[in-house]
């Protein structure tokens, strides 16, 4: 028995099931990340001394990773909004989004390595602990979003128009959220 509105939007809600599902998942995800950022705020206000991020953490590498994430996100959204174009261009855009994601991961790996070398391990203090924790969570998001982009790009030829559009939309939403997270993280550690 097939499930209605899996591929085509329901007229009165204007959504496919998957899009709504992704929206709800991101709402939960936002609560999850929100709790981590609240913990950051809690620890920081309670701390007697809070290091200056720019002085101890690898700001340049983190910044480049953020830029790569932003490009990946832009590509994913471009693939979605431009999906009415040719299959090939959609495929290239979604694929390049995955590529930029991979680059961002490489840069993050470098940043974490540098932080470990220069600043110390997570157990050293709560500042570093929450830095590594938030970085890890952002990384998991980038990994997931890149994988989904890559899968969508590979499968795009075989998906029907509606299904492809729905997939691209869900992946685009995920990228947008990932970028938001990464940017908030950067701002919290380097600019605030």
């Amino acid at each position: 028995m097939s499930v209605p509105y899996a591929h085509t939007p329901r007229p009165d809600t204007g959504m496919t099931n998957a899009r709504l599902g992704m929206g709800l998942f991101l709402a939960a995800d936002a609560m999850f990340c929100g709790a981590l950022f609240s913990s950051y705020a809690f620890l920081r206000t309670a701390a007697g001394y809070w290091p200056v991020g720019r002085e101890v953490l690898p700001m340049r590498l983190n910044g480049l990773a953020l830029a790569a994430t932003a490009t990946a996100c832009a590509m994913a959204l471009y693939a979605w909004t431009g999906a009415r174009g040719t299959r090939l261009s959609t495929r290239v855009r979604a694929g390049s989004s995955a590529g930029w994601g991979a680059l961002s991961l490489l840069l993050t790996a470098g940043a974490l390595h540098q932080a470990l070398e220069n600043a110390g391990p997570p157990a050293a203090n709560t500042f570093l602990a929450i830095y590594y924790m938030l970085s890890a969570v952002v990384t998991v998001h980038v990994v997931t979003a890149s994988t989904l982009s890559a899968v969508t790009a590979l499968k795009s030829a075989r998906l029907g128009d509606n299904l492809l559009l729905s997939r691209l939309g869900s992946v685009g939403l995920l990228w947008a959220f990932t970028l938001f997270m990464a940017a908030t993280c950067f701002i919290s550690f380097y600019l605030l």
């Binding site: 499930v3 709402a27 309670a46």
Partner: protein
């Protein structure tokens, strides 16, 4: 299309449906059966604890033989203090996360919501099954801790640090298991919401959804939005335990005469905030679907629609939203300061209003109806005053001035068990009696059900009313010896034995219920299509298998 169990060769079909089914009814039944098994486990754990509280220092009858003199849990049948703590943590965790929520939302929700909105199945059938698997894994991991080096988690279902970070037992199992339970409830919540929003019968407006579906919808949103912070907190606690971070540990903590070798800088209160941010909405997860069930059973047995449906729906929504703003009423004793206390006191008193609206509407729905005292209706009718007692005993806890002496006493235990046991559990029994014919095509045996109803009501009041009294006399909760070694509460100490024997009696009565279910599955009276002449879709619309 009726349940798998009653067909010839039913066991194999049942197992297939249990593990592999993607039909919402199969998934719902699987949750239901597992949830009930966990409920009886939690009850068994409580029987051990209560025996210890009533007869402190006496080995258990019989169990002494089973456990040799060197057994880590109960050497020679003696329950050790640490094991009492561990059992307490497992009772709370099991009942809340592994029994009642899965029964209410995984069981009744998965089974009934699609039927009631006229949907062919869940929106994501395979995710439904995946969620069930995560739940099973969660149970497995949490219970595996019994066999781990230090035994299960011992920091209560609340897992407060520093103990939860420092103890050397099963807290890691607890954390990992809870993360699985979280994933399961996330999938469940998304599935139910999408099913209601997207798969409603075309033309069915939101204000035409049955009240039960509304309560499930609000509940799903609570699970969706309140559980993530606990998962995040669990991750932080795991990191404290495994990586040596100090999210929840302040510096300079001295344990057993030694200053701890951690960087410090964290805060145990951070955990409490994150935990209660989940756990308060969670109590609404425990009661809302129960209100929904009672709100279905009553109209079916009075022949009249609910009184004030619109007000009830709005109240449920308001209650859901508001439940995110009351969490720190569990923390009046932490010295948050008068302003914070006043804020959370006020929000807590405000949130009691929608509960009163819903409870009141349920009572008014009886007015002028031709009430039939069917077995499900009995449970529903008993629910009303019990929910009332639970709610009213909560008021003193909402205010810091009266909360402070009552905090962490047996009074609190009595209060919330009136809600979750005499309230929610009674609604669950009522719901079972009501929908059993929908699942099996047969009625539960009426006499046995009524007997179960009466005896359970009696026993449970005999369990929880004395706890309220003990709490008022100042007896703390989580006392290994039931208070024998404390000067306070001497005059109510004798109640311990009565409570314990009532718990045992209650457990015996449940055997009656199990027998009733098994007997009725095979020999119960055939129910016909719509035994209660109810007007909700799950009865009036027949569906192909």
């Amino acid at each position: 299309m009726r349940a798998e169990t009653q067909k010839p060769g039913g066991v194999r079909r049942f197992l297939r449906g249990y593990f592999l089914g993607t039909d919402h009814r199969a998934v719902g039944l699987a949750y239901f059966v597992t949830g009930f098994a966990m409920f009886f486990t939690g009850l068994g754990i409580m029987m051990l604890m209560r025996w210890q509280a009533a007869y402190p220092g006496n080995p258990f009858p019989l169990l002494g033989r089973l456990f040799g003199p060197d057994h880590p849990w109960m050497p020679g049948g003696m329950l050790l203090p640490n094991f009492y703590n561990q059992l307490g943590a497992m009772h709370g965790t099991t009942m809340v996360f592994l029994a009642v929520v899965p029964i209410l939302v995984g069981g009744f929700g998965n089974y009934l919501v699609p039927l009631m909105v006229g949907a062919p199945n869940l929106a994501f059938p395979r995710l439904g099954r995946l969620g069930f698997w995560c739940y099973l894994v969660g149970i497995g991991v949490i219970y595996a801790s019994f066999f781990s080096h230090g035994g299960p988690a011992n920091s209560g279902w609340t897992s407060y640090p520093p103990l939860s970070v420092l103890e050397d037992g099963g807290q890691i199992y607890w954390l990992v298991g809870i993360i699985f339970v979280y994933v399961s409830s996330l999938l469940l919540a998304i599935n139910l919401i999408v099913t209601v929003v997207q798969l409603r019968k075309p033309g069915m407006g939101f204000m035409e959804l049955p009240f039960f579906v509304w309560t499930q919808l609000v509940t799903a949103f609570l699970l969706l939005l309140a559980f993530p912070p606990l998962a995040a907190a669990g991750l932080l606690q795991l990191s404290d335990r495994l990586v040596g971070t100090s999210f929840f540990l302040p510096g300079g903590l001295v344990v057993a005469g030694q200053t701890l070798d951690v960087s410090g800088g964290g805060s145990a209160l951070l955990w409490q905030h994150l935990f209660w941010f989940l756990a308060h909405p969670e109590v609404y997860v425990l009661i809302l679907p129960a209100l929904g069930m009672v709100g279905t059973i009553i109209p079916a047995n009075t022949g009249r629609p609910l009184y004030g449906y619109r007000g009830m729906v709005l109240s449920a929504l308001f209650m859901g939203g508001m439940s995110f703003l009351v969490w720190a009423h569990h923390m009046f004793l932490t010295g948050m300061g008068a302003t914070m206390n006043r804020f959370f006191e006020t929000t807590t008193i405000i949130i009691s209003v929608p509960s009163v609206v819903i409870g009141g509407s349920l009572v008014l729905s009886l007015w002028g109806g031709a009430i039939r005292f069917t077995p499900p209706m009995l449970y529903a009718l008993a629910f009303l005053p019990m929910f009332g007692i639970g709610g009213l005993t909560g008021m003193p806890l909402a205010m810091p001035s009266t909360n402070i002496p009552l905090h962490d006493t047996m009074y609190v235990i009595g209060h919330f068990h009136y809600i979750v046991v005499l309230g929610t559990l009674f609604a669950v029994f009522g719901g079972m009696a009501h929908w059993f014919p929908r699942v099996s095509g047969r009625l539960l045996n009426g006499k046995l059900t009524v007997l179960h109803f009466g005896l359970s009501l009696l026993c449970l009041n005999a369990v929880f009313f004395p706890l309220l009294l003990q709490g008022l006399a100042g007896v703390s909760r989580r006392l290994y010896d039931g208070g024998a070694s404390y000067a306070i509460g001497r005059e109510v100490f004798f109640l311990n034995k009565a409570v314990t024997h009532s718990v045992i009696a209650f457990a015996v009565v449940q055997v009656l219920f199990l027998l009733n279910v098994l007997w009725s599955l095979r020999w119960g009276k055939p129910a016909g299509g719509n035994p209660w002449e109810a007007d909700t879709l799950e009865w009036t619309e027949d569906r192909a298998p």
